[in-house]
Symmetry: C2
Subunit: 146 residues, 2 copies
């Protein structure tokens, strides 16, 4: 695939009648280059280095738009901020209930099965996400000590 991330963004925006702006370009690039999940505030900080004056409300609005365009995924971990990541190869996430740390896992869940079942109920499924809950190595050790 010779399509660059920038081109994918431009195409997706056009297709839905949205405009291209420097904020959208930079935010999408930052998230793509980052290659992992991050909080809105981290993304904002990284992006503001390239685009001074970038505001948090714009970051949230843009991430929501990118999510609707299917370029970004939202990862709700339950305690603390929502995480965002550029859409890449499917993987699961391990979330520590104690400290909230979220780690990628090399599992590609059977998204297809899941999406089919969801679709049968009238739900327009988009993608499946597998979360593993528990304690990270560090917190498990602490819990055992106590």
């Amino acid at each position: 695939m010779a399509t660059t991330a920038d081109e994918r963004l431009a195409t997706a925006l056009r297709a839905r009648g949205h405009r291209m702006t420097s904020q959208r370009l930079v935010l999408h690039r930052v998230l793509t280059e980052l290659g992992r999940h991050a909080k809105a505030e981290e993304i904002a900080r990284a992006s503001a280095q390239r685009l001074p004056g970038l505001s948090l409300p714009t970051v949230y609005a843009t991430l929501e738009l990118l999510e609707e365009l299917g370029l970004v995924r939202r990862l709700a971990t339950g305690g603390g901020p929502v995480l965002f990541e550029a859409r890449g190869k499917p993987h699961a996430h391990a979330i520590c209930r104690r400290c909230g740390t979220t780690t990628d896992l090399a599992i590609d869940a059977e998204e297809d099965d899941a999406l089919a079942v969801a679709g049968a109920t009238g739900f327009v499924a988009d993608h499946a996400q597998l979360l593993i809950w528990g304690l990270c190595e560090r917190c498990a050790a602490q819990a055992a000590a106590a």
Copy 2:
């Protein structure tokens, strides 16, 4: 299994050196009898009918404890409040990105595989949770109309 929910709670509390209180008993009962996911505030309201004066901080503290005891699961849907549900037979959740409605789906993901992979990384996995993102029937119809 002839074990009642109350007994499971009592046993789990004892095993970890926690005390039995009326708040914990009522909250666990309410969530068990409810049989579906609910926000902390809904749970608090339902429980306060049986136990006037019950406070929100206590509800949150208790739900967290019940989660650690493995009696309750937390369901983060990303925008809006966290949902809680009594641990029952495994199922997936479909979350509408537009309106936030969360519906149960009769899928039991391959938790075992997932837990094994997570465990191999040093993570002490507890349970797996499959989320399906997309638009519910109602919101999909609205989006199509616009």
